[in-house]
């Protein structure tokens, strides 16, 4: 009896255990009408697909998706995202225990590449946006460390480097994401850009962002000032920080060299020894790292760790402690690690049904039991792999 139970349980847990449909072949995809992520609940909506609203998609969720997924939705003309357990659990914790003067909670999503960490973060982010939170999201930190755009020595933080280009891009993205909230926010103290120019206290955040976009040289300083404001904890709404590939903040390599500035050394100054400029010396990344600390109230941080953050090192590891290292782990400790699992049998079945219905899976073999089992086996439950493989069927 115990062996039979073990086999049954194994079949339930394996991704292709339930793909063999009793009725034979594909069946209808299970969609939920609930398109608001903050109203998804653990007991009703897990494993179902939902259609995000247009406004949510354009403002928030689109940025968390890979370009391939965005192109897929454009091709098919419809969007459907799966409601999964990790995002709902985090959402539940945030709803109960974050905000209202409580210290910052940290969640670290981990899982294999393609398992869906960014999309889970997107679900949490859009749920928080609907609740009226302020969103601070960083998607491309590891790319900011690979190439430098308008790199120059920082004036507001001597000894570090500004990447003005990325600062401007992020400010525009931040504004687009929080358009409804930002006009109501005011700066509490005077921001001095340089000896002559300053923005007075009480001006709106939009003015600060506009100034920085007009003067790109001060874009990283603007980001730092805004983050200081957030950390004061005096905003009327809680803040959610989403950071993809957070482990690159503690990585020892980068694609930017310290002689990228290419200026002649001053009198009496030695030219710098050629070395990588890591995230510790980049003001933009250091500013976001301050947001991941636990010393501020009225907010939460959700981040993911990925081997993509291990620049110039083909790591096969995806566990958080190995990717973060001693330093990163000590910085983020105590945090809650959240594992994004591969698809279970029900999720896999639902996903295959939707791909068949929407027309992504075109071959006849994909509708048969054997074909679905093969798809499940080839992708091994990995969402990204399934997307890529299903494109060939």
């Amino acid at each position: 009896r115990s062996i039979a139970n073990w086999l049954l349980r194994r079949r339930q847990l394996s991704p292709f255990g339930a793909c063999v449909n009793r009725r034979g072949g594909a069946s209808a995809a299970l969609l939920t009408d609930e398109s608001a992520p903050d109203r998804h609940s653990l007991d009703r909506h897990v494993g179902l697909l939902y259609r995000p609203e247009e406004a949510d998609w354009q403002a928030v969720t689109r940025h968390f998706c890979r370009p391939e997924l965005v192109r897929l939705f454009d091709t098919l003309g419809q969007r459907a995202l799966m409601v999964r357990r990790p995002a709902l659990e985090i959402g539940e914790r945030l709803a109960e225990h974050a905000g209202d003067g409580r210290p910052c909670l940290r969640f670290v999503l981990y899982g294999r590449r393609g398992s869906g960490k960014s999309l889970q973060m997107g679900h949490v982010a859009s749920a928080c946006r609907r609740r009226g939170w302020l969103l601070v999201t960083v998607h491309n930190a590891h790319l900011w460390m690979r190439h430098s755009r308008e790199l120059h020595e920082s004036a507001h933080r001597p000894g570090m480097f500004d990447t003005a280009g990325y600062g401007c891009i992020w400010l525009r993205h931040f504004y687009a994401m929080n358009q409804e909230i930002l006009p109501g926010l005011r700066v509490t103290k005077e921001l001095s850009w340089n000896a002559k120019e300053s923005t007075p206290a009480g001006s709106s955040w939009k003015e600060v962002i506009d100034y920085a976009l007009a003067r790109p040289r001060y874009s990283c300083a603007a980001v730092q000032f805004l983050i200081d404001e957030i950390k004061l904890g005096s905003l009327p709404m809680p803040t959610l920080v989403c950071f993809e590939v957070a482990n690159c903040l503690w990585w020892h390599r980068s694609g930017i060299k310290n002689d990228a500035i290419r200026r002649t050394p001053l009198q009496g100054e030695e030219p710098p020894w050629r070395a990588d400029i890591t995230a510790k010396q980049l003001t933009l990344l250091d500013a976001f790292k301050q947001l991941l600390d636990s010393d501020w109230n009225n907010g939460a941080a959700v981040m993911s760790v990925s081997p993509q953050g291990a620049l110039f090192d083909r790591l096969r590891e995806w566990m958080p402690r190995k990717l973060l290292g001693d330093e990163g782990f000590a910085y983020l400790d105590p945090f809650v690690p959240v594992y994004v699992e591969p698809y279970g049998p029900a999720e896999m079945s639902n996903m295959l049904n939707w791909y068949t219905e929407s027309g992504w899976l075109t071959s006849e073999a994909a509708a048969t039991d054997a074909g679905r089992a093969e798809l499940a086996f080839l992708s091994d439950g990995n969402a990204g792999e399934l997307l890529r493989i299903a494109g060939e069927w």
Binding site: R93, E96, H97, R102, P103, L105, Y110, S294, D295, M319, P320, R321, K322, A330, D333, P334, F335, V336, P337, V338, Y339
Partner: protein, 427 residues
């Protein structure tokens, strides 16, 4: 075949060739074979002795000249007669060494065929191989009664396409041979020194006794190399292993210092094995830095003594050891412990214990008692953090428990309080 037999054969051959060529020019000139038989410088093979030879000798002279005719075509007597004839005219005959066909040289007394194989000629006194080949010596084809071949012909015409045999084979001489170490040799050596040996102690056959009595284990390897040099560079390596429990007088601090010193060395490591529930640690060292094996062994003994004595010795500056120098993860003194002080709500004692245990399990590797980073240890850590921070399914504030152990009474009490206040507000 005996020489006599060869004579018979030749005489038989001669008799068949007895019909001498008659169209000989010299014969036509009047010189017959019989007259030439008078010359005394005709050799014959073995005159006298056996009857057959005697019979041959009677017709031997005649036969000899005929034999000559059969072999050479011109007889020496004919040449001499021609020379004598031409001498009368005053001309000497031209004799060019090498071109002029001279009388065939007599065959050697010794036969050109090799001797019979030695195995047919060996006497019983020499039938013990160790007495024939007592020590290591260069290969000798006549002494070794084996049909050994060595070498490879380049094509099918060289040596008829087969490997050259042992006679005059320099390759066989160059390579080392072990003909002085056959099982017969080994048996003889062992028999000779057996009276000097004592029997193997039976008690050592029981499992575990050898490790207890002789804790130091030295491993060396010998290599056989088929090359122009039989030496192998790997033979110098010596491995030494020792169970750490056998090192006496090592207290906790000394053991930790030993592990630290070993972790810095590139010739030693500590292996941990779990036998049942107990942990067994072996110190393993190796050395191939010296050219000779005994030098490497001496070096390892020295290194082991140095490691042991230095780990027993505690210097004053060792008190400056920092948290990061610990051999295994320690919660006391870590940044996680310092962060507990910065928490907004002071956490309960059992929450801190859960947190500490989870961190130890996550950070320590299996040989130090932890699990390392696994899904289970991460999940346990997450639950401990939720308990510490008061989030999760246990309820708000600091009153929650870890997910599995739900403090039902406190939750119910909180719920009841809430309901009563609502009712009061409503009324």
């Amino acid at each position: 075949m005996t020489p006599t037999g060869k004579l018979l054969l030749l005489s038989g051959l001669a008799r068949r060739l007895l019909a001498a060529p008659s169209n000989h020019s010299l014969a036509a000139a009047g010189y017959s074979n019989s007259s030439s038989s008078n010359s005394s410088d005709v050799w014959s093979i073995g005159e006298g002795g056996v009857d057959d030879a005697g019979a041959a000798s009677v017709s031997g002279r005649r036969g000899a000249s005929s034999r000559r005719a059969g072999f050479a075509g011109y007889s020496a007597a004919d040449v001499a007669a021609a020379a004598a004839a031409s001498n009368t005219a005053g001309f000497r005959s031209l004799v060019v060494p090498g071109l002029t066909k001279e009388a065939a040289k007599p065959p050697l007394l010794r036969s050109r065929h090799p001797l019979t194989p030695r195995c047919g000629r060996m006497k019983p006194a020499h039938s013990s191989w160790p007495s024939v080949w007592p020590t290591a010596r260069t290969f000798h084809p006549a002494a070794v009664p084996l049909p050994v071949r060595q070498g490879r012909p380049n094509n099918a015409t060289e040596n008829a396409g087969i490997s050259p045999n042992k006679w005059g084979n320099t390759e066989l001489i160059k390579v080392p041979n072990f003909l002085h170490l056959t099982p017969a040799h080994v048996a003889a050596h062992c028999a000779a020194i057996k009276h000097l040996c004592t029997p193997w102690p039976k008690a050592l056959d029981e499992p575990g006794v050898i490790d207890k009595q002789l804790p130091l284990r030295v491993v060396t390897t010998d290599y056989l190399r088929s090359h122009h040099s039989i030496r192998d560079i790997r033979a110098r390596r010596v491995d030494l292993s020792l169970c750490l429990d056998r090192l006496v007088k090592l207290d906790k601090r000394s053991l930790e210092k030993l592990l630290c010193l070993v972790s810095f060395s590139n010739f030693a490591k500590v292996d941990t094995q779990f036998v049942g529930s107990s942990r067994v640690r072996h110190l393993r060292m190796w050395s191939d830095r010296c050219p000779w094996r005994f030098q490497n062994y001496d070096y390892l003994i020295y290194a082991l003594s140095a490691l042991y004595s230095q780990s027993l010795r505690h210097e004053s500056w060792e008190s400056g050891k920092a948290w990061i120098d610990n051999q295994r993860y320690e919660f006391d003194g870590s940044s996680s412990q310092k962060k507990l002080a910065k928490l907004a709500n002071k956490p309960a004692t059992n929450a801190v214990t859960h947190y500490r245990n989870a961190l130890i399990k996550l950070h320590r590797q299996p040989e130090n008692g932890g699990t390392g980073e696994t899904h289970d240890s991460l999940r346990q850590y997450g639950r401990a953090v939720e308990f510490l921070l008061g989030i999760g399914k246990g309820g708000g504030g600091g009153g929650g428990g870890p997910v599995k152990k739900l403090d039902a009474s406190s939750a119910q009490q909180a719920g009841q309080t809430k309901r009563t206040t609502e009712r009061q507000a409503a009324s």
